[in-house]
């Protein structure tokens, strides 16, 4: 490794190594004291890049984890995370890409009711959390993803959600009504006529 890591870097490295949970810079600072934490975290990230262990940031919290390509040698049978149902996966994706979102809004996209257990499973996993109420009649609960969601799926932030920019640019995250306005009532019959 590089010569002579300074004591502050060594302290940050050790603290992250023993930490039970990913740590915010503020939590880290409670243990390691004064120093240029941002620069140190950046330096550690760089030093560990390409190694068997990597330092990563997820939702503002930092942790060491093994490199993804080594999964096959490290995975144990009991490690397999619980498989989500298709409904749960879709619901999770809708919450993540649209958050905060109400149950009715999820149902509008999926075309079916959200089964009782689906949101429960997602909340129990710690990936989804209630995020207040929407100030519309009925004040429905709205849901959002958690920091644990980002950590679990390896996302530094919601901006890193796969395809987020493309989906937004294509208007696919807008409600149908809004998209319809944008299209100005353009006909789809053209397609059918062409085909006929």
């Amino acid at each position: 490794m590089m010569a002579e890591p300074d004591d502050f870097l060594r302290a940050v490295e050790a603290a992250l190594f023993v930490a039970e949970l990913p740590m915010t810079p503020m939590e880290l600072r409670m243990h390691v004291g004064e120093g240029d934490l941002d620069a140190t975290l950046a330096m550690l990230t760089e030093q560990y890049a390409g190694r068997g262990i990597n330092l990563v940031e997820r939702g503002g919290r930092w942790h060491f984890q093994t490199a993804p390509d080594l999964a096959h040698i490290l995975r144990r049978e009991k490690d397999e995370p619980r498989k989500l149902s298709r409904a749960a996966m879709e619901t999770l994706a809708i919450i993540a890409y649209h958050e905060p979102v109400s149950r009715a809004e999820i149902e509008a996209i999926r075309g079916v009711q959200v089964a009782k257990g689906t949101l429960d499973v997602l909340m129990e996993s710690g990936w989804v959390r209630p995020a207040g109420r929407r100030e519309v009649p009925g004040r429905p609960l709205i849901y959002a993803t958690s920091v644990d969601f980002l950590t679990h799926f390896g996302l530094a932030s919601r901006r890193d959600l796969p395809g987020m920019d493309d989906l937004r640019a294509a208007g696919l995250l807008d409600p149908v009504d809004l998209a319809l306005e944008g299209l100005g009532g353009q006909s789809v019959l053209e397609n059918d006529e062409e085909e006929a």
């Binding site: 243990h31 999964a71 490690d79 298709r86 879709e90 679990h152 796969p162 395809g163």
Partner: protein, 260 residues
């Protein structure tokens, strides 16, 4: 494994309808599966063709007497209406236009499809505990909380007061009440009435400067003493009416009874 999750069920062609409708999560899901069967971009999808496919599919299911949930039939009815509207000459179309309804359906299918793909991509990421691992037994950072005990002098003396209040044996002492005994009163009234020739009010026989409680007791005792002395013939008592002042005087020998 995750990549296959959103592939259409292999049995969507109407001629091999051995399908259970449990495979779909409602009509929109079925429509999306059929639409993807058109193998074109969803933006290019032919809603008319899709409608035909769906209606054929439902018809096939009904011929096989498959149990169909109501919402599949509602969708079928709506699509049948949409189809006929789309085929009508344009001027006879109602509001909202069938084109708009078709476009709405297309947009919904696009959105559902986008979220389905997003979900699959999310699941395929390097996930903790499956693809990347944290330490299984981290030692943990310990924050040892050192108590900084706080207590004020008031807390201290209050605590001591409470102990004393709680633990001392309770001793009941009956206080000696300030009274004038009957014997005292007899002596006093007897002595004083000897010099009282004229009618004198009972209160005059009481000692001065008594506390109110003792004064009451002295009055009561002196009254009883007066009765006793009258019985012995040593004094006379006179009262003009109920609650009127009581007068005493030494008895005049021989005059006893004249005044009563």
């Amino acid at each position: 494994m995750d990549e296959d999750l959103f592939a259409p069920p292999a049995i969507f062609a109407p001629d091999i309808l051995t399908v259970s409708f449990d495979s779909w999560e409602g009509p929109l899901d079925l429509l999306l599966t059929l639409a993807r069967g058109q193998k074109v971009d969803l933006r290019e999808i032919s809603i008319l063709a899709l409608t035909e496919q769906y209606l054929d599919f439902i018809e096939g299911a009904r011929q096989l007497k498959l149990e169909l949930a109501a919402d599949y039939l509602v969708m079928a009815a709506w699509l049948a209406y949409l189809k006929s509207s789309l085929l009508l000459p344009r001027q006879e179309q109602a509001e909202p236009s069938p084109e708009e309804l078709a476009l709405r359906l297309q947009l919904r299918l696009q959105r559902l499809h986008a979220m389905r793909e997003a979900g699959a991509r999310l699941m395929a990421r390097d996930r903790i505990g499956r693809d990347v691992f944290r330490r299984r037994k981290p030692e943990g950072l310990r924050l040892v909380r050192k108590a900084q005990w706080q207590a004020s002098l008031y807390d201290l003396i209050q605590a001591y007061g409470q102990i004393r209040a709680r633990t001392q044996p309770v001793v009941h002492t009956i206080a000696v009440r300030p009274v004038m005994t009957l014997d005292e009163a007899i002596q006093r009234v007897g002595a004083l009435v000897g010099v009282a020739i004229e009618w004198t009010q009972l209160e005059a026989f009481l000692p001065d400067d008594l506390d109110p409680p003792k004064a009451k007791s002295a009055l009561a005792s002196s009254f009883v003493a007066a009765l006793e002395l009258a019985r012995q013939g040593r004094l006379e008592i006179q009262q003009d009416g109920i609650f009127q002042p009581i007068y005493l005087r030494a008895s005049v020998p021989g005059a006893r009874g004249d005044l009563l």
